[in-house]
Amino acid sequence: MTTDDESPLDDAPLDAAAMLALSTGQQKRVSSQFVRPVVTMLGAWGVAWLVGFLALWLALESSAPFTVPIAVAGPVFGILIVGAIVLSIVIGSRMSRGVRGSSVFSGAVYGWTWSIASFAVFLIGQSLVNAGMPVELSMLYYPTTYGLVAGMLYLAGAALWVDKTQLFLGLWIIVVSVASSFAGTPTNLLFMSLLGGGGFIVGTVAVLIRTRAARRG
């Protein structure tokens, strides 16, 4: 299959069952090529939330098994979240490279919505801090609002790509974010870490298992 001329092997038909398998196998191969980057993206968000929020909780909870200085936990959280955002943008822009069609527009709008909405959460928080919101309250505001935005974006993704994994993940993230705000701070950070970050990781594994199963046909 590597000669520049047409190889006779390529041109030869197989029996009906093998040809059917060849066609469906190729389509599965194409869709797994498009799904694989999503797995990396979900996994990165899982690690960022799990480790980042856990570091913040360890820094602020006095009864935690051990403590981490906030001077370490803050930057760790920031680097992980910014890293996940950058990775998502890079992966998102490479995913549909070389492909044209209406779904490419949907994908681009969706990708940009993540950045715009995340930045809006940050700006609104800043305006509330400027208006006198105490630090403890901001520790409730940021995770919960950001979690709500992330959950709704997964629901939008579920609608766009008719994907049930994103539907469940979106609902789960919204439930965890809202419930965590009732837990008070800093316990809400532990909620976001274990249940939110854990949710992303379970979602990653679910997509992996599904694509593996599909590849085996």
Partner: protein
């Protein structure tokens, strides 16, 4: 039972049509990306695309990114129908309902 369409009934061309069928209705794919998804050499892919083009199943469209020309490949309406018919015929041959 009608004969299987000889244009599609070849491994390489069936894989090309199957790949193009995964695109949006109005979608097309750049030649290098298609080559990557099929794991075929440029020469081999061109040869098979020409045969599909001669049958009216595939069309190409040149676009420019800056000054670099990019060829986009897509399945025509006729090509989409032919691929669907071919797959139905295969399933029928195998005893399933089309």
């Amino acid at each position: 039972m009608a004969e299987l369409d000889p244009v599609i009934h070849a491994q390489a061309r069936l894989r090309i049509m199957a790949t193009l069928a995964t695109l949006d209705d109005d979608g097309s794919i750049a030649f290098p990306r298609l080559q990557e998804l099929l794991d075929m050499t440029a020469g081999n892919l061109s040869t098979h695309l020409r045969k599909l083009e001669d049958a009216g199943y595939v069309a190409q469209d040149k676009a420019f990114r800056g000054r670099t020309p990019i060829t986009y490949v897509y399945s025509t309406k006729q090509g989409k129908r032919a691929f669907e018919d071919y797959m139905d015929q295969l399933r029928e041959l195998l005893g399933g309902t089309p």
